[in-house]
């Protein structure tokens, strides 16, 4: 009875591992090719000769007018993504707290407007939002990349649902002890929301980190480009340098994977709540 069952289990795990390897093969291909000798890039499923030439190219000059363009772009990406994500988190917590836990006239209206905007196709806003940024002089600036992405309605929606599930009695009790609304938010509500905060943070940060269209429109100067935009421009339709292209791809992908794996456990917990 135990024998065949165990065999089936081994087979299942093997199958799952093979499938997982196929799924992450593009990443493996990317990493191997970034270290491959230039004569072997895109020539073998698993390169046999390796060199650091691609990485030297990337971290050195890398065919650009400004010194160390890739390090600079990495810094830009980080600044823009961190700035945007922090603002999205702070604004979402504030607005959701108001919608879920403060009673005020017009709350339902605000709620309905947010829902309406959420289901509104955002493509219509692209051109005029660009014009708004241009008119206020934020074209080719960090703020121009950050501010239009300083608020996430999805995050507001998620937090509002979560905060609503926190019993009012906690908050009433704290109020009787003389706690202010801000104290309640930071000392009671937020500590209870750790796992959902992790989920929202990860989704927002990785979405911002991999944004192309908006940053491409706003960033103009060579020293303002984000990593994703530089990667897209440098290795566009006619781009050469396949080796460095893979190295740059690793540079873009690695940080987000590390951040994700660091929070993976909390992420799983949080996802279980959000999917209920």
């Amino acid at each position: 009875m135990v024998g065949p069952k165990k065999k089936g289990l081994v087979f299942r795990y093997l199958f799952a591992i093979v499938l997982l390897l196929i799924m992450i093969y593009p990443y493996i291909y990317m990493v191997l090719n970034s270290f491959a000798d230039w004569s072997q890039v895109d020539k073998k499923f698993f390169p046999t000769e390796y060199s650091l030439k691609s990485w030297e190219w990337l971290l050195g000059g890398g065919e650009s007018v400004i010194p160390r363009p890739w390090i600079n772009a990495f810094f830009n990406s980080f600044l823009v993504s961190a700035g945007s994500t922090i603002l999205m988190m702070v604004s979402a917590v504030m607005v959701s707290y108001a919608l879920a836990k403060i009673q005020f006239k017009g709350r339902d209206t605000v709620n309905n407007v947010i829902l309406f905007q959420m289901f509104f196709p955002a493509i219509i806003l692209l051109i005029p939002t660009f014009l708004v940024i241009q008119k206020v002089g934020m074209y080719d600036s960090y703020w121009g990349m950050i501010l239009p992405k300083a608020m996430s309605l999805w995050a507001v929606f998620m937090y509002t649902n979560f905060f609503k599930a926190i019993p009012d009695t906690f908050i009433e009790a704290a109020k009787l002890d003389g706690a202010s609304e801000l104290q309640i938010m930071f000392k009671i509500v937020l500590p209870m929301s750790k796992s959902i905060t992790t989920v929202i943070f990860l989704f927002l940060f990785m979405e911002r980190w991999t944004e192309l269209l908006w940053d491409m429109l706003v960033a103009k100067s060579d020293n303002m480009l984000t990593l994703n935009v530089l990667l897209s421009q440098m290795f566009g339709p006619y781009g050469g340098y396949p080796g460095p292209m893979y190295a740059a791809s690793v540079l873009l992908t690695l940080p987000i994977i590390i951040i994700f794996l660091l929070f993976a456990k909390k992420f799983r917990e949080g996802m279980q709540f959000t999917l209920k």
């Binding site: 795990y13 607005v95 509104f120 219509i124 608020m151 192309l212």
Partner: protein
Amino acid sequence: MSKNQGWLGWLFASPYLLYAIIFFLLPLVWSLFLSVTDWNLISPTYSFVGIDNYTAALKSQGVQSAFFVTFKFMAVFVPLVIAFSIIVALIVQGLPRFKGLFLIGFFLPYLASGVVSSLIVKGILSYNSPLNEFLRGFGIDINWLGSPFAALFVVALIIAWKFTGYYALILTSGFESISKDVYEAALIDGVTPWQRFWKITFPLLYPALFTVLILSIGVTFGIFTEVYQLTGGGPNFATNTWQMEIFTKAFSNLQAGYASAIAIIASIVTFIAIYIIRKLLELWGKRNGWT
């Protein structure tokens, strides 16, 4: 709660109000205004052209292709990603241990930037790539990004690769709600695995599947990065999505007025299409007694 909290509520909600005025209402009105002008994004002057932009747009190959390409993407991408994510979810569900670890592993493609995945795929599909050499060994020689259907398929596949793990995660939470008793009862009744999937697993999975369907259909209306990076909308408009069309017209051809009209058409089409598909899905689920 006390009544003098009115100002406090508005204070906490103020980030949204500010944001909605500057980045929603103002652009919305501006967009409608632009769509009836011939403004070229740079010139200080412009003139009103009435509904000319709309009539020209509806007749243009760009807009017509965007309309159909979106549905073609839907027809390829949605079945692909649904099949992949169900397979992944079923496999992970069959593992007694390390379920979480595998789910995290399958989720990793979701972290890839569209630019990165497109560049990798471009490398994998380049003429002398190992894959193409391998296929030529069997006499198969495909110009992946040069033929209309193959290009569309490649882009759909990249996006399906990205979303599979995420959707599998949603589906596994659906599986977890299916109780073991139902399965055991079915086993006793001598139901085949095929029947078991369609008669038991599928209906119980339907709520989670509905979420995944709606999400994946939404994705098809917003495809840009992969197309921009790989095909530029080609060959011959075969992968020209709404976003690609609007981007090209507004920022490459500098036809801001005309592109605004396209954006408005795109929004209306998107809104109506998603609404109808959603209703149909709900009806389908109800008729079969799944919801």
